[in-house]
């Protein structure tokens, strides 16, 4: 089983557009949307939901107002400022550490399992997709990412499919680390802006730390040719294959508005770029496979 994860240090570089285009190319695959914080892939995939599961993770403190004597010890001890003057627990701030539960002299605080959102298994025109939606402001997206990927793996095994295509999370924190580990190839989508180039370098440090082979796709490449060239030099320097340069085109937004992948919307134009990128990915995967079986 092989897993490709598409990531981008910075948001808005077109990661989901690239991923949905790749989904329509190559061999059958299972899709895993790990961009759970702001999952957009479903807007292109139009999933038909087959199964919905609650995502429960961690705990939350709950104060029983009848038992509470408002002594203030919990407020004093809580390091996350999660309890306000009226002894209400602010869910977004509560880390579920249970210190207040142990501190409370009147036993007024209980720890409850925390409901964080849902994950789904759906059918799409490109294959089965596992995706999730966190409740607004919910935490623990790292564990949800792991849940989505584990489920995708199980479905792939059941269906006898050898490839998983994962939409990774942005950033360098816990969700992206959770979406990267044990993948076979990371496709990093970058754009030629000063900010994105710096984020690209940070995310590349991360993939190299985890020992994950990676390749780079430059999106909106013609916005700034000299920065695109800098990305190319960086790729060369780090011995990363440059999988392709995609031009900045209105068609990418048009495809999104129509709910299509760019390969479907513009098969001969942008679609051609994506085909070449896919070939590069395939080559890289084959090389990895050879190296690991040799």
């Amino acid at each position: 089983m092989q897993e490709i994860v598409v990531i981008s240090g910075k948001g808005g570089t077109g990661k989901t557009s690239v991923l949905s285009a790749l989904a329509s190319l190559g061999p059958p695959k299972i899709l895993a949307d790990c961009d759970v914080d702001a999952a957009d892939l479903h807007l292109i995939m139009h999933p038909r939901i087959q199964k919905r599961q609650e995502f429960i993770s961690g705990e939350l403190a709950r104060i029983d107002p009848d038992a509470c004597t408002q002594c203030g010890l919990c407020r004093e001890y809580c390091r996350f400022d999660a309890i306000d003057e009226s002894f209400r627990v602010w869910e977004q701030d509560c880390e579920g550490c249970a210190l207040c539960y142990h501190v409370c002299p009147s036993g007024a605080i209980r720890m409850e399992p925390r409901f964080n959102g849902y994950w789904y298994v759906s059918e799409t025109r490109f294959g089965t997709m596992v995706h999730a939606a966190l409740l607004p402001g919910a935490e623990n997206s790292g564990k949800l990412v792991t849940t989505v990927r584990t489920e995708a793996r199980e479905i792939a095994e059941d269906q006898g499919i050898d490839l998983i295509l994962t939409d990774g999370s942005p950033g360098i924190g816990c969700p992206v680390i959770a979406s990267l580990s044990r993948t076979n190839l990371a496709v990093i989508v970058a754009e030629p802006t000063l900010a994105a180039v710096s984020d690209l370098k940070r995310v590349q440090e991360l993939t190299s730390y985890f020992g994950i082979p990676s390749g780079i796709v430059i999106n909106k490449a013609d916005i700034n040719d000299s920065l695109s060239d800098e990305i190319e030099r960086f790729a060369k320097d780090k011995d990363l294959p440059l999988l392709g340069r995609i031009p900045y085109e209105e068609k990418i937004t048009r495809a999104q508005i129509e709910g299509k992948s760019i390969t479907e919307y513009d098969p001969s134009g942008l679609g051609e770029y994506m085909h070449r990128i896919w070939d590069g990915i395939q080559e890289r995967l084959d090389a990895e496979q050879k190296a690991s079986t040799a």
């Binding site: 993770s57 816990c174 959770a178 580990s181």
Partner: protein, 121 residues
């Protein structure tokens, strides 16, 4: 001497589970008496973090002086190392075959973790 083998099931015919922290369970096998017990690890399979080190803790508490697994992350490795527990690596095969390999000295001892850990630890 007892070895803990990460396993996909309870019997010697089950396969070695290549994951350490997220293994389905561990077979704790006493090389001297030939007796064995099964340690369920589902709690750690579900844990959001710290699965590797808690698996290490549980295997050692069950009396293992050595561990055989596929891949092990840095935190779990450090934990076992700190307890003086040796780590051996094996390919995926039946637990019986793994034990035979170990008895014949065919397994290599790991001196470093072989995969960077985080969530999959």
């Amino acid at each position: 001497m007892k070895v803990g083998i990460s396993s996909t099931g309870k019997t010697f015919q089950d396969q070695l589970d290549p994951r350490f922290g997220r293994a389905a369970g561990f077979i704790i096998f006493d090389l001297d008496s030939g007796q064995s017990e099964y340690l369920d690890n589902q709690g750690n399979q579900q844990a959001s973090k710290g699965a590797g080190i808690h698996s290490a803790q549980n295997v050692v508490q069950a009396g293992a002086n050595a561990v055989i697994t596929g891949h092990i992350g840095p935190k779990a490795f450090a934990a076992l190392d700190s307890g003086g527990v040796k780590v051996f690596q094996s390919e995926v095969k039946s637990v019986q075959e793994v034990i035979d390999d170990f008895r014949q000295g065919n397994l290599t001892q790991a001196h470093n973790p072989d995969k960077p850990g985080h969530w999959q630890g």
